[in-house]
Chain length 213, copies 2
Amino acid sequence: MKIPNHIGIIPDGNRRWAENNGLNKENGYKCGINPGLFLFKLCHELGIKEITYYGFTTDNTKRPKVQKDAFTQACIDAVNLLSKENAELLVVGNTESPCFPKELLPFTERRVFGKGGIKVNFLVNYGWEWDLNLSRLTHKQRKPIDIALHSEDISRIDLIIRWGGRRRLSGFLPIQSVYSDFYVVDDYWPDFIPQHLYDALDWYSDQDVTLGG
Amino acid sequence: MKIPNHIGIIPDGNRRWAENNGLNKENGYKCGINPGLFLFKLCHELGIKEITYYGFTTDNTKRPKVQKDAFTQACIDAVNLLSKENAELLVVGNTESPCFPKELLPFTERRVFGKGGIKVNFLVNYGWEWDLNLSRLTHKQRKPIDIALHSEDISRIDLIIRWGGRRRLSGFLPIQSVYSDFYVVDDYWPDFIPQHLYDALDWYSDQDVTLGG
């Protein structure tokens, strides 16, 4: 089986899952934390070299405060849990906004936890316009485009898996995603089971990666 | 039914279609021209305001010359056919490269043909890195990002339809696609039938457009 180097994870459907389970919407996020850790462990076993989780975006922060607080806390908890594993962690997002949780500031430079061995990126208060970051370039700095990105330490993504049935990227790393294969799981993220990942990998195995050639 | 303002068309599978029909790969492209015109007419009837066709990319030009010549000619023929319709045509691509066909230079500023009424964009020798065009910005020109794009006259895309079964954007307008819903048709592009479009629109009708909010 062809294993992708880098998987992007869009863990959508937490609010719909909560409503389906008789909970308030904001209570869905914390039920997405353990699935994230479980998926990390499976990827580690499979030899995947890099994972990027879509935590929350600057657009998401326009939601009601109770939801914003809940998804922010879920991201903090998830990153703290991952820091107890063997992982090379990096949080990427706009730290200059009050929506960025100060608890995650120590993670905004990549750090090795335990034995490392797998890069794990977590997007927190991420915005695609912020990422592209045009204003910091000067005319004299004619550098390749990836140098201009806030997310320059995140590599090209081979496979993006989105839970919750929606078929869109929703601003997820537009540059690293230009050639990504995109797999959608209809189940909501809190209902994650390993078979979702295995099905996505089986499907990816059958894709020919041409990069337009 | 909710009709998208702007549809992106990725007409993939011409070479695979040719091989399945006992032809050389390069003979698939010309069989994609009439489907493109047919789809245009259907979109016009439906009141869709803008269509963008993915012609070919700078990455595609690395393919064998016989294929490159064939897809280039198919794009020239397609644009010439569309110029006989009521349409506001614009060709977007890197005109500074020898891979850009000189026959299409007159279309690189938007022009109204017939009664106009629908914008039609055609990407020819397009490259996402070329489009993002960072080097032309100076530090003093802190403009919104869409001003910096070569494709600045192409609006945000609501729905992208890709034929040929592959589930990736392949560098298609990364900025205009950040929130696009993405629908995949397994059939190859030369086998286009109206039901493909209607199925995509039915599906799109059920999507909630949240833009992250």
